[in-house]
């Protein structure tokens, strides 16, 4: 009796709140309401999806990765190549992009099992660099440093053509983001997701209560890779272009920043971070197009020195600093 009458925390955290519904409705309406900004809405959706995928491994599983762009780029290139050589349908291309990135993630998940944070950092970074070299050197396939050009996308679902103003692209990206988000929400809210959090908090104890740590890490990494592949595929499809830039180190660093701005270990963190980051990037690069990385760097330094939990939660600025390690860390 006493056990049954307690609200199930796991179930309660999975329930959709009213503000989430409102938020998504607003997001889906935004390309129509702000039609002149549809391009940036599209970019925000892509970055949000990418940050969401990083959150699965960084926020929920505790793997520090500096090479997440590997999967992003894999998704982008495979979606672009598929559209160019096989068929231009976006949804099939999306599935291909997710598929290849997932396979790559499954292969790479063996490399992140052992060692310290530093080892994982190095290995993930190395995978990203290897893929970038591959894309650079296989120029007969990828166009090398010039990028893969001439990708023509068909209409979404056979009806909606991508237009110049990016409205369709924004809707398409937002829908994919929503689908992945719902799936990711199920994923991290499930008992499986709870075991991931247990691994993040204390791997030794998680092992001691019988959680198969290695396979859980592998699955989480693979899933995150697939989601990152979806983000990459979105970028390639909506821009009709894939270049080496998708594998660049700064993309991995940026997405980490995005996630940290919004809050780690919270699925909306990626979305909020993407919104803030893109608007900030747009604003700063309007003022100083060449040196905006300086301000991003300054922002990062200040963010860490002030404490990232405090910066994203303004109501803690003036209260005493009691719970320093609280939040998502």
């Amino acid at each position: 009796m006493s056990v049954d009458s307690k609200p199930n925390i796991l179930l309660a955290s999975r329930r959709w709140r009213w503000w989430e519904v409102v938020l998504w409705a607003a997001a889906l309406a935004s390309p129509w309401a702000l039609s002149s900004h549809a391009l940036i809405i599209n970019e925000i959706a892509i970055v949000a999806l990418f940050a969401l995928s990083l959150d699965i491994i960084l926020g929920y599983t505790g793997i520090v990765s500096l090479g997440h762009a590997a999967f992003f780029g894999m998704g982008a290139y495979s979606a672009a190549l598929f559209a160019k050589h096989v068929m231009p349908d976006p949804l099939v291309g999306m599935a291909v992009g997710i598929g290849t990135a997932t396979v790559l993630g499954a292969i790479c998940s063996v490399t992140i099992q052992r060692g310290t944070d530093l080892t994982r950092l190095m290995v993930t970074l190395g995978v990203g660099l290897i893929l970038m070299e591959l894309a650079n050197k296989l120029d007969w396939l990828t166009g090398g440093a010039d990028g893969l050009q001439g990708v023509m996308m068909g209409p979404v679902l056979g009806r909606f053509e991508f237009d110049l103003y990016g409205q369709v692209a924004a809707w398409y990206s937002l829908c994919i983001l929503l689908v992945v988000f719902v799936l990711a929400r199920r994923f991290v809210g499930s008992p499986f997701g709870a075991t991931l959090k247990a691994i993040r908090d204390n791997r030794l104890r998680a092992m001691a209560i019988g959680i198969p740590v290695a396979s859980r890490l592998a699955v989480a990494y693979t899933v995150a890779a697939g989601a990152a592949g979806a983000a990459g595929a979105l970028l390639a499809q909506t821009s009709g272009f894939a270049s080496l830039d998708v594998f660049e180190f700064h993309r991995s660093a940026d997405v980490m920043l995005v996630l940290v701005i919004g809050g780690v270990g919270w699925l909306y963190g990626g979305v909020a971070g993407a919104l803030i980051f893109k608007l900030m990037q747009d604003f700063i690069s309007n003022i100083t197009p060449q040196y905006w990385t300086f301000w991003i760097g300054l922002f990062l330094v200040v963010l860490v020195l002030v404490g990232r939990e405090r910066l994203v939660r303004p109501w803690t600025w003036f209260s005493a600093q009691k719970n320093k390690t609280g939040g998502a860390a």
Partner: protein, 291 residues
Amino acid sequence: MLTILFDGIAYGMLLFILAVGLAVTMGLMNFINLAHGAFAMVGGYITVLLMQRLGVPFLLCLPAAFIGAGLLGGVLERTLYRPLYHKPHLDQVLFSIGLTFMAVASVDYFVGSTQQIVQLPEWLKGRTELGDGAWMLGMGHYRLFIIAVCAALTVALQYILTKTRFGSRLRASVDDQRVAAGLGINVNAVFLSTFAVGSGLAGLGGALGADVLGMDPTFPLKFMIYFLIVVAVGGTSSITGPLLAALLLGIADVAGKYYIPKLGAFIVYSLMIVILVWRPQGLFVRKGGKA
């Protein structure tokens, strides 16, 4: 073939000098410092600017680069790095990436994004060749100079680390910070001086390498991975580990780029991943130290 080996050794020695500071600070403070390359860049730019604008001779620029980068490292350690020692690794990574971005953009702003050229003095420009045929050994004088300087530094470092009082304090602090502090070692002072010297060495490496590696604002990002490979593969508990790792990396990189230019960087990165998956703590780990 011997020439490639020679160039590889020179390159590896250079990488060692660049990365040894990182190895020590990482082992000492368990701090993942991705901004180490920025100090090397500072040293490189000090040399380039002193030589170009003020006409200071090359040999005088090297100590200037060491001192400049070391001072900067000391100041930053005291002001920015110290509060972060006990933060999670994610914070440290973010912080040091931020610092690197700032360094890259500032140098771009103040000096410009073009690659800087170092005018080497005449006596370093030549090249000596020994033997002939497949076993010919061609030694660029500058590379010979690099090897000599780096070898001298390595011996000096090894001596300081193993024979002096400061060295034993440093090793004690690396092994167990709390016990070392309990024994009356001023760990903060050890940290500060080690960080400053490590940054200074990076600056010196940057100055020496300005000609070989090329000096432009993206230097810290381009070579960050190399420094980290040296540290991750070599381990952080001694300086012989990073030295061997740096030599291995230098030779593998030069040989890879020479024999199979199409695969270039793959060899290095794949080798690193294989080694790290095989031995996650690095190839040359001393038993008994703190993990």
